[in-house]
């Protein structure tokens, strides 16, 4: 158990320490959100109709940008070998790393989505649901992203490759997440999102751990 807690705390420290690594995705998120009205025009009605779901696109891209180094750093400095030697199953260690990523990056992004959605003219009463949907959505993105990060860990400059691999799998959370942001079937969409997040967190670490065992060979 302590190995899992240690991994979680180490990853959290690495992401929050070292020059505010976890703040960069947040800045990316706000920058991308800022571009939306610039592209669509600042007209209130148009923004209110189409803007809020775009928070989801910005959040998906922001979390995508953090995946490239997730396992690559561990592979390069030998931490991965230690994880393989640990008595804890690699799947749980991967899940602990995913949990650290969720706390360091997912949680701030979900909270930042509140002002971002309001700025994009989302109705204020919908904002708690949007934040909740992104809390779930970040878990889903990270569950899928673990697999993409693990299979590309050995590839130099694999950022675009990760995006190509992972983006089609982001379709289900985006669909149900933007349904929440658009105010349609909010309760049902949140339930499906929660189900997808649980499935991604259950299956993603298994596939990611299988890939990491190969990477370390």
């Amino acid at each position: 158990m302590s190995a899992l807690v240690a991994t979680f705390r180490r990853d959290l420290a690495l992401m929050w320490g070292g020059g505010g690594g976890a703040l960069a995705p947040l800045g990316f998120f706000l920058g991308a959100t800022m571009l939306v009205p610039l592209a669509m025009g600042p007209e209130r009605n148009l923004l209110a109709a189409a803007g809020p779901p775009l928070v989801w696109i910005a959040a998906a891209l922001a979390v995508l940008a953090t995946l490239e180094r997730l396992f690559q750093a561990d592979l390069e400095d030998g931490s991965l070998d230690h994880m393989l030697l640990s008595p804890e199953p690699l799947e749980l260690i991967v899940l602990a790393k995913g949990a650290a990523l969720w706390v360091a990056v997912g949680l701030p992004l979900a909270l930042a989505s509140a002002p971002a959605a309001i700025a994009l003219q989302a109705p204020p009463e919908l904002v708690p649901a949007i934040v909740l949907s992104l809390l779930l959505g970040m878990a889903a993105f990270i569950g899928i992203g673990l697999v993409g990060a693990a299979v590309t860990a050995g590839v130099k400059r694999g950022g675009v490759l990760i995006a190509l691999i992972v983006l089609p799998f982001f379709a289900p959370p985006i669909i149900f997440g933007s349904a929440v942001a658009g105010g349609e079937h909010v309760g049902a969409a949140l339930s499906v999102l929660a189900g997808f997040a649980l499935a991604a967190l259950a299956l993603g670490p298994i596939a990611a751990a299988a890939a990491l065992r190969l990477q370390a060979e």
Binding site: V147, L161, P168, F169, A171, I175, L203, A211
Partner: protein, 240 residues
């Protein structure tokens, strides 16, 4: 090295004559199906002549999904039993599947323009086919990004299996999201709703494309095996 080639040797002996046979069968079926569908089958009472695009669109749609399922099976075999030829098969199938998906998307778009009045509609089936196409591209890109072939094979197999689990979910979610495309009309409860006069050319084309896949797959696999043999020979030469 010899034990490694033991199974491929049998495959090479088989495919040496099977690949041309399948190629001839494919060309024969397509030579029958294409004129039958394009000239001698009836036009649709609503869609008119544009219905003929179906004879290209529907078979490529079926097999682009079928090929992914084949790749999933091959990846599973490669991952579990470490069967080198299964890895080769999965890799060889991917560009063919991606091409079929692309043909399906392009013909669907050409058909949509006069029939639906739009080149592209963000409809459930179109979107999930596009997602399948992107997944194919990601799979191919992963293979070519990793230099160590054996490692690339395993990692691509994991990705392929993850895709296999996810494809139904993506399909279900985009179907829920928006649907304009007509539902399945051939494989459905209560029998087919398509006119029997259109079934003949459709199945001829579908059979033709299946044989084409088999022939291209074997040719791709043979090329991969030959390439490995050349590399092995080069390494032996370097040792001597």
């Amino acid at each position: 090295m010899l034990t490694y080639l033991a199974n491929p040797a049998r495959f090479m002996a088989f495919s040496a004559w099977a690949a041309p046979i399948f190629l001839v069968a494919a060309l024969a079926l397509l030579a029958i199906g294409a004129p039958w569908g394009l000239f001698y089958s009836p036009a649709d009472y609503q869609q008119g002549e544009t219905v003929r695009i179906m004879y290209l669109h529907v078979p490529t749609a079926w097999w682009s999904m079928g090929i992914y399922a084949f790749m999933g099976a091959a990846s599973f075999v490669g991952l579990v039993w470490r069967h080198a030829l299964a890895d080769v098969a999965a890799r060889a199938a991917a560009p063919i599947g991606a091409t079929f998906a692309a043909v399906c998307l392009i013909t669907g778009s050409l058909w949509g323009a006069p029939t639906w009045g739009t080149w592209w509609e963000w409809d459930g089936r179109l979107t999930s086919m596009l997602a399948l196409f992107v997944i194919y591209l990601g799979y191919i890109a992963l293979w070519s990004a990793i230099e160590d072939e054996e490692k690339a094979a395993r990692l691509a197999a994991i990705l392929c299996l993850v895709g296999l689990v996810n494809l139904p979910i993506i399909k279900f979610s985009v179907d829920w999201w928006s649907t304009l495309h007509q539902p399945a009309s051939i494989m459905r409860a209560g029998g087919s709703s398509i006119d029997p006069s259109m079934m003949g050319p459709l199945f001829a084309m579908a059979g033709g494309f299946l044989c084409l896949f088999a022939a291209l797959l074997m040719m791709n696999m043979r090329a991969a095996v030959f390439r490995r043999r050349v590399e092995a020979a080069r390494l032996r030469g370097a040792d001597a």
